[in-house]
């Protein structure tokens, strides 16, 4: 674990470097580094500077609207919110067990989201760093650069995304603003024509996913020292697992392991999440810091997402992905991987798993069934948890007798990873920024560590003209000494 760089003893005597906002990360994130006169990092923080107000947005709405409207929270993973809210509302309408058709349609939708999200992250966001190097020319360190030098890789990334979106379109009804999942089930099954259209491509997708896993393994093999240490943050892990301990990204029970891989708790019903997870508020960030209650806030923080899930489960229930999981576990040598570049390897294993599951589901006759919804005894409180692409996503609602949502609590994946991201940038800052000149390449190391988690920070707004990247260097009196600006077209300008 990193030594504590969260709060310096005398910040007023330190120089300040701000990275605002973080490149290729959604929303409004900012990294600040306080350096002393010898350029030694004394404080490092990832700030979330936009207040989300998600809960306020949802309170006062009829419960049946919620699965649709929560998609507007995030333009990157709307399906995850759609399904987590639906699962919570299943409880409200008394749907204790969905019909086989409804559950499989939802799972298919979810795996479409996992596939397209992981493909976007790997091919569009992180592959430029991995293929060109963190210090490479910033002008080509992007997806266009990848397309220029690795055209087939770039093309596969685009088509994998497209395939995932097609799965979502067929199951949710639309590519965006989908309405397919409703409290108690789904409102449409797949037609035979839709199924056959997807079956026509799915085997190619599986092969491309296998190639993506192989590419990540080659990167690890080419530079094991870097991949085994970069952004190291030892922590607990948290994820859902199935009843048999296998990976289950749609439903299951909570399991947590400590940093050495020992199980802390297992088979915990997720509606009991608040008994095990507490959220801490810190004055310098709008994003809360969750931790496991039994270990307290100092030792109880954890990682979620692909690296947690792949190492938390006992097996993956599809053959190619399970073979790759075993190889990752062998590579780790009996101790969990905590270096953050391991996220990319785990993410590609999950992408392969998603493609294999989609194939299996498309061969399942239940997918074409006609029994789509169930109802039961009404309840006033519901919790829905799902393993979203970035990690565990918790939706919790109470609904009054007039069907109006009176309480909403969301713990999104990026919030679950908040402390881990902070610890990771502290590790990188200590290792790469001591006594060095501040350059775009060095600062990109910080961004690489954050991007490994694939954070999504209030990501539904995007207007043109936004998102310049500015790095400010300030003296102890707060005076601007120097600055580095990266414009929306990627141009880096030194000086004011």
């Amino acid at each position: 674990m990193s030594q504590n760089l969260e709060t310096a003893e005398h910040p007023e005597t330190l120089r300040r470097v701000a990275i605002d906002p973080v490149s290729r990360v959604e929303g409004h994130g900012k990294v600040t580094l306080l350096l002393d006169d010898n350029n030694v990092v004394r404080q490092a923080r990832l700030h979330i500077v936009e207040f989300r107000g998600f809960e306020r947005f949802i309170q006062g709405r009829p419960y049946w609207e919620v699965p649709v409207m929560v998609q507007r929270l995030c333009g990157i993973c709307p399906v995850s919110h759609h399904l987590a809210a639906s699962k919570a509302m299943d409880v409200i309408v008394g749907a204790r067990r969905l019909t086989p058709t409804a559950e499989k349609i939802r799972r298919l939708m979810h795996f479409g989201q996992i596939l397209q999200s992981h493909a976007l992250h790997f091919y569009h966001l992180c592959s430029p760093d991995l293929l060109f190097g963190f210090d490479s020319d910033a002008a080509r360190r992007n997806i266009v650069g990848v397309a220029a030098l690795h055209p087939e890789t770039a093309r596969q990334g685009v088509l994998l995304r497209k395939f995932g979106q097609e799965v979502i379109r067929h199951t949710a009804g639309k590519r965006i603003h989908g309405t397919g999942s409703i409290p108690g089930g789904v409102n449409k099954a797949l037609s035979a024509a839709e199924r056959d259209a997807l079956l026509g491509d799915v085997y190619t997708m599986i092969e491309w996913c296998r190639a993506a896993v192989a590419l990540v393994k080659r990167l690890h093999d080419a530079n094991p020292a870097l991949y085994s240490s970069f952004g190291m943050c030892r922590s607990n892990f948290l994820s859902l697992v199935g009843a048999d301990g296998g990976m289950d990204l749609y439903d299951g029970w909570l399991r947590a392991r400590d940093d050495r891989g020992h199980v802390i708790f297992d088979q915990v019903e997720y509606r009991q999440y608040a008994r095990h997870i507490e959220e801490e508020v810190r004055p310098w960030s709008y994003m809360k810091f969750p931790f496991l209650r039994q270990f307290g806030k100092e030792e109880g923080w954890y990682k979620v997402g692909p690296l947690a899930r792949v190492q938390n489960c006992d097996r993956i229930p599809t053959p190619f992905a399970e073979r790759e999981r075993r190889e990752l576990m062998d590579y780790a040598g009996g101790s969990p991987i905590h270096a953050v570049l391991g996220y990319h390897w785990a993410r590609m294993i999950e992408m392969l798993h998603a493609a294999e599951w989609i194939k299996d589901l498309l061969h399942d006759p239940d997918l074409l069934g006609t029994e789509l919804t169930v109802r039961g005894e009404r309840a006033h409180e519901g919790v829905g948890v799902i393993e979203a692409p970035r990690g565990t996503l918790i939706h919790h609602y109470t609904v009054d007798e007039n069907d109006i949502v009176t309480m909403c609590n969301l713990i999104v994946s990026t919030t679950n990873n908040n402390q881990a991201m902070n610890e990771s940038i502290r590790h990188v800052a200590r290792r790469y920024m001591h006594g060095r000149e501040i350059t775009e390449g060095l600062l990109n190391h910080i961004e690489v560590a954050i991007r490994a988690f694939d954070p999504c920070l209030s990501c539904a707004t995007h207007a043109l003209g936004r998102m310049p990247l500015r790095i400010e260097l300030r003296d102890a009196d707060g005076n601007l000494v120097d600055q580095l600006t990266k414009d929306v077209d990627g141009t880096v300008t030194a000086g004011s």
Binding site: E26, G75, Q116, A154, G157, A460, T461, L464
Partner: protein, 173 residues
């Protein structure tokens, strides 16, 4: 959301309009709102089947495939700190995404298209309406409503005369 999906085996409509934005984010809704109002208008110079419209939260890499088979693309989006009430610019590929987010800018999308399709993209334009506030749950700001009205009138003109020379003559910063 494709509002007029192409039929399999048929040639795609030559003009693609992509409106980008989130209805629940205040003025971020400007693009989708303009598109929906535009679709209610009659466009004397444009027959049904000659254009297709897509609405999405954000531009993603797979939108490059939506450009395939087109002769013209129009991106409609909200802007922050951009000229009021709107700008209308022709764009070219080759501009890097830079410090965007999970999303692509329109020029970067053209560049992705060029690389994966190995050919030049369609002639492409951006109609960017200035927004003022983008908070979750906000409605359009008063200024954005004015910009929407001005942009709608301008866009109707573009659909009335779709000649490239006319569009090029209408560029506005």
């Amino acid at each position: 959301m494709s509002t007029a999906p192409s039929r399999p085996g048929r040639e795609r409509p030559p003009l693609l309009i992509i409106a980008v934005g989130n209805d629940s984010r205040g003025d971020d809704a400007l693009g989708p709102r303009l598109l929906r109002e535009l679709m209610q208008c009659e466009a004397p110079g444009l027959a049904a089947g000659e254009w297709e419209a897509i609405e999405d939260y954000q531009l993603q890499i797979e939108h490059a495939l939506d450009l395939t088979g087109r002769r013209r693309a129009l991106f409609i989006d909200a802007g922050s700190g951009t000229p009021a009430p709107f700008y209308f610019r022709r764009i070219e590929p080759g501009v890097n995404p830079g410090p965007g987010t999970h999303v692509l800018t329109p020029p970067a999308l053209l560049a992705v298209y060029q690389r994966i399709e190995r050919q030049s993209p369609p002639a492409a334009f951006v109609l960017c309406l200035r927004g003022e506030r983008f908070d979750l749950g906000d409605d359009l700001s008063p200024a954005a409503r004015h910009h929407l009205a001005a942009g709608l009138e301008f866009a109707r003109g573009l659909l009335t005369d779709t000649r490239l020379a006319y569009w090029t003559s209408q560029l506005r910063d």
